[in-house]
């Protein structure tokens, strides 16, 4: 089976005055039809930039992205625009991702019009209502403006906008981070149901690993622009191999006061992307480090069960 999305050694540089930082520094991953892949890491790890490069909202500096086998990075502007109906994005903050001057109707009808998906007003109307109902919104809300909707409703509109063209792939950039707790799980359940109904592939970007555990079947862990660990969700969460992943998982508070946990507290802070030392970026904070870790970047190796890790330490 061919992956919907294949990312091959993606790199993205940003210029900041004289210096150059590599926000994404050699990321490769693939996403198969119908699966939800999580991309996790903390701030500055490059996950958001990776997602934007995959959709070519930001142009990659190096590397390739393949959509259903075709090399997206080579497409012309016009062709790219026309293909956009097949890959969409749900944005983080529903308060800023909807145009405040557009009614919900206008926001949702636009993709239909741009891609010629509705031949008549009647057809448009049907598609609008159908999509609204799919995301559990009453069609009468079509006439509302974003400021007249609640946070959860706004995010559903964002989701509706992404699915209305029946895409094959959706990148979700922290879609629940701005929402309250009780709404979060509803939106995630909605996303899961939509995925099953419409057979879409997801790239779910988040710093919230509990959301990833809920939604995703595979996960990639990023640190300082590189993927340090990857594999099936249960495998990674229960048997994390990379020291960073282990620290990350142990840092997340669990809502159960009876659990006594052995918490790994990391020292220091991530190094600045401006002055990346050679070798493994996690060296300074790693308790399992060896001199060889400073010398060169550990290769990504298979440790069985579809579990990959970039680390020299033997677990």
């Amino acid at each position: 089976m061919e992956p919907v999305i294949r990312v091959d050694n993606l790199r993205k540089a940003f210029r900041e005055g004289r210096s150059v930082i590599w926000a994404v520094n050699g990321v490769s991953l693939d996403i198969y039809p119908g699966e939800a892949v999580g991309l996790v890491g903390e701030s500055g790890c490059g996950k958001t930039t990776t997602a934007r490069c995959v959709l070519r909202l930001v142009e990659p500096t190096e590397g390739r992205v393949f959509f259903q086998g075709a090399d997206m990075t080579q497409w012309s502007g016009g062709h790219l625009r026309r293909q956009r109906r097949f890959f969409q994005m749900v944005f983080q903050d529903p308060n800023t991702s909807l145009n405040p001057r557009f009614t919900v109707r206008r926001t949702l009808a636009e993709p239909l019009r741009l891609h010629g998906l509705a031949s008549s007003r009647r057809a448009t109307e049907e598609m609008l209502c159908e999509t609204m109902l799919r995301v559990n919104l009453e069609p009468r809300l079509l006439e509302r403006y974003p400021h007249q909707l609640s946070g959860g409703q706004k995010q559903r509109v964002g989701i509706a906008r992404a699915i209305i063209t029946s895409p094959r792939f959706i990148a979700l950039d922290e879609p629940t981070s701005s929402l309250d707790m009780s709404i979060r799980i509803q939106i995630l359940s909605l996303l899961q149901r939509l995925q099953n109904e419409m057979n879409m592939a997801y790239l779910f970007i988040s710093h919230d690993l509990s959301a990833v555990r809920f939604l995703c079947s595979r996960v990639f862990v990023m640190y300082l622009g590189k993927v340090v660990e990857a594999g099936p969700v249960d495998e990674i969460f229960e048997r994390p191999a990379h020291p960073y992943t282990r620290a990350l998982l142990s840092a997340i508070p669990i809502p159960d006061p009876k659990l006594k946990r052995q918490r790994i507290i990391l020292e220091g802070e991530p190094p600045s992307l401006f002055n990346l030392p050679p070798g493994c970026g996690f060296y300074d904070r790693c308790w399992a480090r060896k001199p060889s870790c400073r010398g060169e970047m550990p290769p990504f190796r298979d440790i069985g069960d579809g579990h990959f890790v970039a680390c020299f330490a033997e677990e």
Partner: protein
């Protein structure tokens, strides 16, 4: 101890009674200067539209026997050196002045916003060039610049309009560019690109409505300034010349009579200029207060 009646009703969710019209009225009530300005402008507008058919005298009709008569029941604003009724001339002049003001602002707003959006969105060299050009234009006081341009182009109403508009365009370019610089970083701009909009659609359909507010406020203020500039130019003898009844022309003609003690020939046109410009200013300033981000009453 519940001290004060809470929002009506006692139970069940309160429907959003406050429609937009009601809220607009509430805001209006708290800004007396806006009301004053609107009243002034309403009067001016009324005079402009209906005035010329209501005044008893023709503005160009001379009547040498009745020259320089002070204000009276027959001639509410008196007559000028040629015996023409000043009130009629002022009222007719309103049409011309307002036409000039609105034309100037329409041109400056139209061009300025278009250029500002484009320049701000694309940035880079284009933006640099546009900014340097606006810097040059803004280096001149607008009146002087309009004066110079009119002198070059010649005296006619279209030339005056063009001259003043050129002086105002940079303001609109700057204001809109400032707005689009931040608007283009918003997520909805990115989302617009993501669904497949071309750059032009993003700039002019998605971003523009969100960037217009400061420009519209400035437009209101510019309406007032344009009247001052146009009549100023006419007063100096540039642009519009007598016998066209334009307020600045009237002031200029009347200025010769002050020496002889006939104050009314220049006073009334002058007063009308001031009041109209003031009216626009009041509305514009209040609009600026109302639309500024700190005014969120929510």
């Amino acid at each position: 101890m519940v001290s004060e009646p809470l929002a009506v009703p006692r139970h069940r969710e309160q429907a959003a009674r406050e429609g937009r019209a009601w809220r607009a009225w509430y805001v209006l009530r708290s800004h007396p200067s806006m009301i004053a300005g609107l009243v002034l402008l309403a009067i001016v507008l009324f005079v402009t539209i209906f005035g010329p058919s209501l005044v008893p005298y023709k503005p160009l009709k001379t009547d040498p026997e009745n020259r320089l008569l002070p204000p009276s029941a027959l001639h509410l604003m008196g007559t000028d050196a040629f015996g023409r009724d000043i009130l009629s001339r002022v009222v007719n002049g309103a049409r011309l002045d307002l036409f000039i003001a609105f034309s100037v602002v329409a041109i400056a707003l139209g061009i300025g916003v278009f250029v500002g959006m484009f320049s701000g969105y694309y940035g880079g060299r284009v933006d640099d060039v546009v900014m340097r050009i606006t810097d040059v234009i803004l280096a001149f006081p607008s009146f002087i610049l309009a004066l110079a341009i009119t002198a070059i182009l010649g005296n006619s109403i279209p030339n005056v309009i063009i001259a003043i508009a050129i002086a105002y365009i940079p303001y609109f370019v700057r204001l809109t560019r400032g707005e689009v610089l931040s608007a283009k970083e918003r997520e909805y701009a990115e989302a617009a690109r993501c669904v497949g909009n071309s750059n032009w659609r993003i700039i002019y359909l998605h971003l523009l409505p969100n960037c217009l507010t400061p420009a519209l406020v400035q437009a209101t203020l510019c309406l007032g300034w344009a009247i001052l500039d146009a009549s100023g130019l006419a007063f100096l003898g540039l642009g519009i010349r007598p016998p066209t009844p334009e307020w600045g022309v009237l002031v200029s003609e009347g200025s010769r009579d002050i020496i002889g003690g006939q104050w009314w020939t220049s006073f009334f046109p002058g007063a009308v200029i001031v009041l109209t410009a003031f009216g626009f200013n009041l509305v514009g300033d209040s609009l600026r207060d109302v639309t500024s981000p700190t005014e969120a009453v929510q």
